[in-house]
């Protein structure tokens, strides 16, 4: 199939979505508001989040609800986009939906760990009903890890449970979470192999950078909070990183001064992230990605970059809206400092 047939319709649709996203004025207006309720009302009355907020009574909205509602918008958009794809591209998009399955599975896992009833989670699930292949009725009936494992048999996630025992559950939540992430990314990378060479290369970089991000966060948390031994930390890292391959990660993990090691092994363009405080690190990384996507989008020809870019833009937008509500809640002054979106 020619690239026009493949991306003509899709990119037009994407451009339309991009056009509807929040403008700089919207951001300014949101920042000026005083409460979560006002943010929700503003979104309901003035933005394309209207449809998901339609039946919501804004007065009752809490921050957590809002995040969930906004994310359902993203899922909705993705569901509408998948109709414009076919063949391996459709498969790739389906693999993207798996990310929300993973998020939901993590919720179920946490509920089981805490001894809660996973059936209560129903309203928090994000997965696309049309593009999920898991039986959630069955999954939420699981009360123990082995039940969950049995209920996931036959799905791509069964390998995450290879050697897990009930005793591990409370100690090693991360074990399953990292394994699930590994499966998600592994599957995503696998699906890129059937795309055109150009698209595969683009996704290779984008997914690679995403994996770097997950890995760095993992190493950082594992060293600082979990007290794992280096071999363990290393074994849980995801393969397929763009700038941090196995040997670089190994150097970071085994070095006492991992921050210095990270700095040393960073390409120049990443290096500035670390000159700042920890709290800005995540934001810096996202900002870097944001700029990267914008670049992609700007010289976008008919390839997959626009799709990935717009989905990420939406994701960042939602993150920003949530950051804004948090900042309003805790009365933070320079809200803009915490946002991914940069202002002129």
């Amino acid at each position: 199939m020619g690239s026009v047939a493949r991306f003509g319709g899709l990119n037009t649709k994407l451009q339309a979505i991009y056009g509807k996203m929040l403008s700089q004025d919207d951001y300014e207006n949101l920042i000026a508001l005083d409460s979560v309720v006002e943010v929700a009302r503003y979104l309901k009355e003035n933005t394309y989040y209207k449809d998901v907020l339609d039946e919501v009574i804004v007065e009752d909205v809490h921050r957590g609800d809002l995040e969930h509602i906004l994310k359902t918008k993203l899922i909705k958009v993705m569901e509408s986009l998948i109709h414009f794809t076919s063949g391996p591209y459709k498969d790739f998009m389906k693999a993207m939906f798996a990310r929300y399955e993973v998020e939901d599975l993590k919720l179920i896992l946490r509920a089981i760990t805490k001894g809660d009833d996973p059936r209560k989670l129903e309203n928090l699930f994000l997965h696309s009903v049309d593009y999920s292949y898991l039986n959630y009725d069955l999954l939420t009936k699981s009360r123990t890890l082995s039940e969950l494992r049995d209920n996931l048999k036959g799905s791509i996630y069964q390998d995450a449970f290879r050697n897990l025992t009930e005793e591990d559950l409370s100690m090693r939540e991360f074990h399953l979470e990292m394994n699930l992430d590994a499966i998600y990314f592994g599957n995503l990378i696998k699906k890129t192999k059937s795309l055109s060479g150009e698209d595969e290369a683009i996704l290779d970089e984008l997914i690679g950078v995403n994996i770097d991000l997950v890995n760095l966060q993992w190493v950082y948390r594992a060293k600082k909070y979990y007290g794992l031994i280096p071999e363990e930390i290393l074994n849980y890292t995801l393969s397929g990183g763009k700038n941090f391959g196995f040997s670089k990660l190994k150097a970071i993990v085994y070095n006492e001064d991992s921050r210095g090691e990270i700095e040393a092994s960073l390409p120049k363009k990443y290096r500035e992230f670390l000159s700042e405080e920890d709290i800005y690190l995540e934001r810096k990384i996202y900002q870097f990605l944001y700029e990267r996507f914008k670049e992609f989008d700007k010289n976008s020809r008919l390839n997959i970059s626009k799709l990935v870019a717009v989905i990420h833009f939406m994701e960042y937008e939602i993150r920003d809206i949530i950051s804004i509500t948090e900042a309003i809640r805790y009365e933070v002054e320079d809200i803009k400092e915490f946002l991914i979106r940069s202002f002129d």
Partner: protein, 653 residues
């Protein structure tokens, strides 16, 4: 060719006989319970009873039956487990009376369960043992040829060992980090589950090794302690063990099959008894009770009344049965429809039901549809050879597959095709072999096309007739006299036909202006049908959605009536067109066969042509025929908003 007459059976009996009487009702397999007619609390049975049993009301206040229902789910499950263990399926096609009582059925079931369960359990355990040992063989395979005693592994003081598998991805991670791992890692083979490794780690560092292995998604295989000797010896030992287990398994299966012989004949009876009991329980939702009596009503075919009456009265002489004709029942309660057709046309009920089940008061269109469909199909697809193939295909379908009705349908249209084949003189497309008894379509194109339109006109006129008849049955003056498918529509259509024929023949018998006046008069009847009919019935006119809308909609309706009458008529030209098309398509293949100049190739092309014609054109003609029936004719006279007669059934075919 009709809708079978239904009657309402009302039954009153002492409440202590409730079980046996309901069983009797179920066993007749003729009683239709109407469900969901009046949604919510007011149930069909109760609403009927209020009418029918007003005389009995003084015997006590009627309430809906609320006795606790027996759940047979446990017995059902037991039976299923036993049939699975015996590997038999209960035969549900046998009719007749349940030979054992529920108590006996439950007794036998318990007895069987007590005998089968332990065997099943040990069988499962044995299978599990066999599986476990096989898995173990798979893993110990990697150690074969090593000259060490396996039990030595567990005797090691300063080292621990692990055997297990790793996935490919994590294996690479392990390899790339060997220098930091304080263990000896030996690759011993590969299996479906990944690569197998034997790992020795110092006991002091074991907790660390376990952590690392865990993070590598290492799946450990446990060596049972009881094994001694070299891996080869252990292997032999395990193989022997599996053999013993297999022997045990065979013995257990033997025991089971003996039990199966003992109990086989009970299975069908128990199954049938459970079916009956389940139906009885479901019936209990439709009962009303007073202190001493219970009341029940349902639909039965009138022709079965006597049989049912004697059956139930034999069971319980104290039961009072009364029957009511469907005409005497309140109008809102619509009886179910049971179609009764001759052997020849019964398969066409499927085509009717595809559109909708006839309303009880409607004419069953199966006869009309069946006959006309046979003609339409034959006329469009007339060929002795190809028709026989379709007939044969239908016969195969009927005999060899579950699609019996479809097969019978194919046989009938096949026969029709053969008959028309003789009329057209066509055999596998060849027009020269057989004499044409009636006409050769391709030689007489005009005649064929014209006669198909004339045939269409006849069918449409008949449809009008049926429509009017249905309206009379419904006592619907508005539609019957003044509707577009009623008398006014019919007269308008006739006027239209006369006009067209006169113009076509250029011979004016009735002056056009008179025709025009009659036509205009009929159209205005259709437009003003609501007020006129209301005036006749001395009622105030009721316009749906306002007067203005009624007339705007009405005038568009008139234009549509005019257009659709013309297009409905012309539509029938397709009968002739397909008859021609049929010949033409074959001509194309025949020409290709001639052009090839090679006898073998010619034969191949002719056969291919026939296959394509039968498959492709057969399908098209099938659909086009259906289209004419549904769109051109059903839309005129058929509503199809009935409820199918579905009596409580135990026997399954």
């Amino acid at each position: 060719m009709a809708v079978e007459k239904m009657e309402m059976m009302n039954l009153v009996a002492p409440i202590e006989n409730i079980h046996e009487i309901l069983e009797g009702v179920v066993l007749t397999e003729k009683v239709h319970i109407q469900k969901g007619q009046n949604s919510g609390d007011s149930n069909f049975t109760l609403s009927v009873l209020e009418d029918a049993l007003s005389t009995l009301r003084d015997m006590g206040s009627l309430v809906r039956y609320k006795a606790s229902k027996k759940s047979l789910a446990a017995q059902r499950k037991d039976l299923q487990e036993i049939t699975e263990a015996f590997d038999i399926v209960p035969d549900e096609s046998k009719s007749g009376y349940g030979e054992c009582s529920l108590e006996r059925a439950v007794d036998i079931l318990c007895e069987m369960k007590a005998k089968v369960d332990p065997i099943r359990k040990s069988l499962d355990e044995t299978c599990e043992e066999i599986r476990r040992h096989r898995d173990f063989l798979e893993s110990i395979k990697y150690l074969l040829g090593m000259d060490i005693d396996v039990s030595e592994f567990s005797k090691m003081k300063h080292f621990n060992y692990h055997i297990g598998t790793l996935t490919k991805e994590r294996r690479i991670k392990l390899r790339n980090n060997y220098e930091n791992i304080s263990a000896v890692v030996l690759h011993i083979g590969s299996s479906e589950d990944g690569e197998a490794y034997l790992i020795f780690a110092p006991s002091d560092l074991d907790s660390e090794s376990v952590k690392i292995l865990k993070s590598l998604n290492f799946k450990e295989i446990k060596l049972p302690v009881e094994f001694k000797g070299t891996p080869d010896e252990v292997y032999e030992e395990v193989v022997e063990k599996i053999k013993t287990f297999n022997k045990i398994k065979e013995e257990l299966e033997e025991k089971l099959s003996l039990l199966k012989e003992d109990y086989k004949h009970h299975i069908d009876n128990i199954n049938r008894r459970l079916d009956i009991e389940e139906q009885i329980e479901s019936l209990k939702d439709n009962l009303a009770v007073s202190r001493n009596f219970f009341y029940f009503s349902g639909w039965i075919p009138k022709s079965d009344r006597k049989k049912i009456k004697t059956q139930i009265e034999k069971l319980c002489p104290t039961a009072i049965l009364s029957f009511e004709e469907s005409e005497d029942i309140r109008k809102e309660i619509i009886p179910p429809t049971k179609l009764k057709n001759s052997w020849l046309l019964r398969p066409f009920e499927m085509l009717v039901n595809l559109y909708g089940v006839p309303n009880y008061k409607e004419i069953d269109p199966t006869f009309f549809l069946g006959i006309t469909y046979l003609i339409l199909f034959g006329a469009m697809f007339g060929d002795v050879g190809q028709g026989s193939v379709i007939m044969l295909g239908g016969w195969l379908l009927k005999e060899k597959s579950a699609m019996k009705v479809q097969g019978e349908l194919m046989m009938r249209v096949g026969i029709s095709s053969v008959i028309f084949g003789f009329l057209y003189g066509s055999l596998f497309g060849f027009e020269t072999v057989l004499p044409a008894l009636l006409i050769r379509p391709i030689e007489n194109i005009d005649t064929v096309l014209l006669s198909s339109v004339i045939f269409g006109v006849i069918l449409l006129l008949m449809s009008f007739g049926l429509s009017i008849k249905n309206a009379v049955a419904r006592r619907d003056i508005e539609e019957g006299l003044f509707g577009r498918n009623g008398l006014a529509g019919l007269l308008f259509y006739i006027v239209l036909l006369i006009t067209v024929v006169q113009l076509a023949l250029s011979r004016i018998v009735i002056p056009i202006y008179i025709l025009f006046l009659i036509g205009a008069f009929m159209l205005s009847m259709i437009l003003f049908r609501n007020p006129i009919a209301s005036a006749v019935l001395k009622k105030t006119p009721s316009y749906h959605g306002g007067k203005k809308e009624y007339y705007i909609e009405g005038s568009f309706d008139l234009i549509e009536t005019l257009l659709s009458l013309l297009s409905n008529t012309i539509s029938f030209i397709r009968i002739g067109a397909f008859a021609l098309n049929h010949v033409g398509l074959f001509l194309a293949f025949e020409t290709m066969a001639h052009l090839s100049g090679n006898p073998a190739a010619s034969v191949f092309i002719i056969i291919l042509g026939n296959v394509i014609i039968i498959a492709l054109e057969g399908l098209i003609v099938f659909i086009q025929g259906l289209r004419l029936e549904y769109y051109e004719m059903f839309s005129k006279y058929y509503k199809g908003d009935g409820v199918k007669y579905e009596p409580l059934k135990i026997t399954k075919t």
